[in-house]
């Protein structure tokens, strides 16, 4: 039996506007992630050395290619706001959906926090004024971007498209400005990455580096959050997501090559702004200033997309009564989930003031990896409950179940990587999710309608 792909219907309430195309999907995905090239990925050099950072760039790229393939299939079929949350609700069950929404909210909110810290630190470093702190810049960034998101998704993502493109072009300009085909003139890879320091911790360092290798691409799956606001989800979501992944793989490879060829691994592993430093080390004031501006733009684009995505996940929780329905209000004029945007604002501000950059990044990565683990199992259940041909899929990913198995194995490795050096944070977060799940299952779920949660026009799943 084949059924038509239709958007979820939610009674007569004001709905989100369908105004976005593939370029917006690309901008949302790449916009969130590109900041990972400007900060964060380089902490993998700290955990394992420069060569480890390259190895995880490729291997984690494989993880995210699996994520993009799986996500494109499921999202092009389950086209509803909340992305993976809506997927979990229709395929696994309410408690999983509740957890997935929280993974999304924390991954994006902590990524937003990291972006704001990066922006504040970069401005303070550039100003070089004694006593100047990053707090006012962090607050201004988060508040202004929340206001922009409050005003409307189209304007938000149009802004993202422009600033993401500028930031991306800056990486390309840097790459070609340093004569990448010639070693010795500007780039000195052979002298900086030697047999003695390429893997300072050996192969255990390569495993450990997986943690921050995630940061090269974390958030690309955020494209699915716009599912209910895209004009043609079946076409735009796979196209925008896969194009975004290709864009990021190229950017990651260029970024590693330039940075590894310009600074020692010990410095590369701890600097908050490796690409700006790379610009400085070329000796060109033009490149230095370009990369300074690009770092700020990448942070803004990422934070902007994160607010968009986190608010939609939170909004979805309210709409299904998983959380108080007060959060499910859509602004009557701007058609945005304004209460969710406003609610998450002080949480982001609070953590931006109390967390360090690598702590905030680790919180975000942890939630991301929990979500990817879910995705690897989710696609197996999706294919089992609705085999090919039983429902209309906008896109069917090839080589199933290989991407799911690869994704699951790489998630297990990444959990071990987080254990190496950041085990306490991992335990604290899992304990939080466990306790909040117990709260939901045994208390909160009584307020949730049962059959109404299933909104897709699909046949009954096989085995039920």
């Amino acid at each position: 039996m084949t059924t038509a792909l239709e958007p979820a219907i939610h009674g007569d309430r004001v709905s989100l506007l369908r105004v976005l195309g593939p370029a917006h999907v690309w901008a949302l995905g790449v916009g969130i992630v590109l900041v990972g090239e400007f900060t964060g990925w380089n902490f993998s050099a700290d955990k394992g050395g420069t060569l480890a950072a390259l190895i995880v760039c490729w291997v984690v790229g494989l993880l995210y290619t699996s994520v993009a393939m799986i996500d494109s299939e499921v999202t092009s079929t389950v086209a509803a706001a909340g992305g993976q949350y809506a997927q979990a609700k229709h395929i696994v069950g309410p408690l999983m959906a509740f957890n997935v929404a929280l993974f999304l909210v924390f991954a994006y909110t902590m990524l937003e926090v990291s972006d704001a810290i990066l922006l504040g630190d970069t401005i303070v470093a550039k100003a070089g004024v004694d006593g100047l702190t990053h707090n006012s810049f962090i607050a201004a960034t988060i508040v202004v971007l929340a206001w922009l998101n409050y005003r409307g998704v189209l304007m938000t993502l149009n802004v993202n498209f422009v600033i993401t493109a500028i930031a991306y072009v800056s990486i390309v300009i840097l790459f070609f400005s340093v004569s990448p085909w010639t070693q010795g003139a500007v780039l000195k890879l052979n002298e900086l990455v030697t047999p003695g320091n390429a893997l300072p911790y050996g192969w255990i360092g390569v495993i450990a580096a997986f943690q921050f290798g995630i940061w090269y691409y974390l958030g690309i799956e955020g494209t699915t959050q716009a599912a209910e606001e895209v004009r043609s989800p079946a076409r735009s979501l796979p196209y925008g997501t896969m194009a975004g992944m290709i864009t990021l793989l190229i950017a990651a490879a260029m970024t590693w090559y330039v940075c590894a060829s310009l600074m020692p691994w010990e410095y590369l592993g701890v600097t908050p702004y490796p690409l700006w430093d790379a610009g400085k080390l070329t000796g060109s004031p033009l490149l230095e200033n370009l990369l300074f501006i690009a770092t700020l733009l990448a942070a803004i684009a990422s934070a902007n997309g994160c607010i968009n995505d986190a608010a939609r996940a939170w909004f979805s929780l309210g709409r299904d009564r998983y959380l108080p329905s007060w959060f499910s209000a859509v602004h009557p004029k701007y058609r945005t989930p304004y209460r969710s945007i406003l609610f998450l604002l002080p949480i982001a501000l609070a953590f931006a003031f109390i967390a360090d950059l690598n702590q905030a990044i680790t919180f975000s990565i942890l939630s991301g990896v929990l979500q990817y683990t879910f995705m690897s199992i989710n696609i197996m259940m999706f294919r089992k409950k609705w085999p090919l041909g039983t429902i209309r899929r906008g896109y069917t990913h090839p080589f199933h179940p290989l991407p799911a198995i690869v994704l699951f194995c790489l998630c297990v490795v990444t959990f071990f990587a987080i254990f190496l050096g950041f085990g306490s944070q991992l335990s604290a977060m899992v304990a939080f999710y466990f306790l909040i799940s117990v709260w939901f299952h045994f208390y909160r779920y009584k307020f949730v309608r049962r059959g109404d949660q299933f909104t897709m026009p699909w046949p009954k799943p096989q085995g039920y």
Partner: protein, 125 residues
């Protein structure tokens, strides 16, 4: 299957639930920061001789450090601040058990809830 009618939640109840979630967020995320449990488990392997050679930096590396504004003394704590990867097996096993237990609970409890959803949704037709 009879249709489940959830109870209406009072405004006070909604506010209480919001507070519970916010408190849980801050306890889980803020407490590790406050207790110093978050962040990288690194320590400095101090050296007596603070020279570029002793710090394992060749002339190219030393030149870059200096271009970035560092001397061997100021770069020492950055270069010698290292991870010490020692696998604490009991901790690793506990973490793995907690993680697996979490996912098992998630999938089993979700499945129970999901069966209600499917039964109500499709038995109505």
């Amino acid at each position: 299957m009879s249709r489940y009618i959830p109870p209406e939640q009072s405004k006070a109840g909604q506010v209480f639930d919001i507070v519970v979630v916010v408190v849980a967020i801050f306890v889980a995320l803020w407490l590790p920061l406050k207790l110093g449990l978050a962040g990288a488990a690194k320590s400095i392997d101090a050296l007596d001789a603070k020279t570029w050679e002793a710090l394992g930096q060749n002339p190219t590396m030393a030149g870059i450090w200096e271009k970035l504004g560092y001397t061997p003394e100021t770069a020492h704590d950055i270069i010698q601040n290292r991870f010490h990867y020692v696998i604490d097996w009991p901790t690793l096993i506990i973490m793995a058990v907690v993680l697996i237990a979490y996912f098992v609970f998630l999938f089993r409890a979700s499945d129970r809830e999901y069966r209600d959803v499917i039964n109500e949704k499709f038995d109505d037709k």
